[in-house]
Symmetry: C2
Subunit: 267 residues, 2 copies
């Protein structure tokens, strides 16, 4: 059986403070690779590190500049280990040039009082919706099956919906069981809020991207299928930067991750 | 005229790759200093660095462990400079021990198309509300004037409000014109969501804290007063970590910042 494109894209070799990856043609974006896969690659560098303990709880990745090379060097460093968590910094380079940095918190989660304070949007099943056709969009979009409830970028904006909102089912294509790396990547798979609001294709670039993981490995194992529901909107477009806030839900109703990002734009 | 407590608390000396600060007794929390002031101190280390250009747009700070010393060393490093932005990493140490790391994006903002996508909550003016009395709360709380619309920690929870929500006016005490450092600190000045939801005082600790700044220096100069409206809620309490999402509005209706954090708890 051949490897899934996603696993191919985040493959790293090397032991372990300086690891090497290859940029995947399958996940190319307008300029360089899709940021979600780059973020997943940095996460993967910690996940495969022999010193790692626990599972990811938070990750912030800053995109410093476009990745123009075919190869990337990923350097994870554990800054501090506490009784129940670890703090990591990862730097990614193309040649001598820093292209991304990330800070991550891994934790051994304890059982605790639990409550989900927000409600999963009430939407049709992914089986009742049509897949986005991808002829006009960059290669990475073809690696996902996206089915829109609101904010389909190829349809006219809905009259009654908030103008920067997207609500969509998404799965890897072909389907792949959700893990922390694919969840991280999916958190960056929403189309840019400015494009959703204005339907103008202008220069964009995420500068900072944060994911909070709200599940254990066991809960990922218990998901019913490879589909998640993504919900994203913007707070403010201002002075050439806008933000995005989002949630990603398992189809069983479990809130898997919340995510934010800040994006440069020229418009 | 004596220095404001806040300016005292974030004062740094030293040129410039290794700066020194003192932990302020005024802003002590249950264990160590209030995290908002620590975050503001790391921001300040970049703001006073001679290489800085532009204003802060995003900041993520990870809290690695408690600050038990009276002194702190703050080491900012510019990782990359692009045409219109700069990427910084800051590491803070007590002696040889890393206690915090931060990544920041500074930018020279361009004029652009603008839109605020969320609505400022419709609330009474701060002059119509009572200040929180602070006898039972840690010292840092006394450095702020907090006036609650919803989520007053000293009153019984409101029947009809979301259980982890806070809506409050806040200003430095005495009043101090809002700048990027005080705005950063205020983004961390919400009481822990778990406490708001359960009213139980249990061990808490923020592990990661993100602020997106949505204003220019000129817009901060144009604020009518020293008061801002803060709005915060949680998405999920789970496996000994919960998140917080918030917005901070100027009293003139300008959305100044959006913020998230992930917090450890034992309950």
């Amino acid at each position: 059986m051949s490897k899934h494109n996603f696993d191919e894209a985040i493959t790293l070799t090397g032991e372990y403070d300086s690891q090497t990856g290859s940029v995947s043609p399958a996940y190319q974006n307008m300029v360089g690779p899709f940021g979600g896969v780059t973020a997943a690659t940095l996460l993967q560098s910690v996940l495969r590190h022999p010193s790692v303990k626990g599972t990811p709880t938070s990750m912030t990745m800053n995109f410093l500049g476009p990745i123009k090379e075919a190869g990337i060097t990923v350097q994870p460093r554990m800054v501090r280990e506490n009784r129940s968590n670890q703090h990591w910094i990862v730097e990614a380079l193309c040649g001598d040039e820093s292209v991304a940095t990330a800070t991550l918190v891994f934790a051994s989660r304890a059982n605790s009082w639990e409550s989900t304070e927000i409600t999963m949007p009430d939407v049709p099943s992914h089986t009742e919706l049509e897949s986005l056709t991808t002829e006009v969009l960059p290669p990475w979009v073809k690696q996902y099956d996206m089915r829109f409830v609101r904010g389909n970028p190829l349809l006219a904006p809905e009259q009654d919906a908030p103008p920067s909102e997207t609500l969509q089912w998404i799965s890897d294509l072909p389907e792949r069981a959700i893990d922390f790396t694919s969840l991280c990547s999916i958190c960056d798979a929403f189309f840019p809020r400015l494009f959703i609001h204005t339907r103008q294709m202008v220069p964009f670039g995420t500068v900072s991207f944060t994911v909070y993981f709200h599940v254990t490995q066991q809960e990922l194992n218990e998901l019913d299928d490879a589909w998640v529901l993504g919900h994203a909107r913007a707070s403010k477009f201002h002075g050439s930067y806008f933000d995005q806030t989002g949630e990603v839900w398992g189809s069983n109703g479990n809130l898997l991750a919340t995510t934010t990002q800040l994006v440069y734009y020229k418009y």
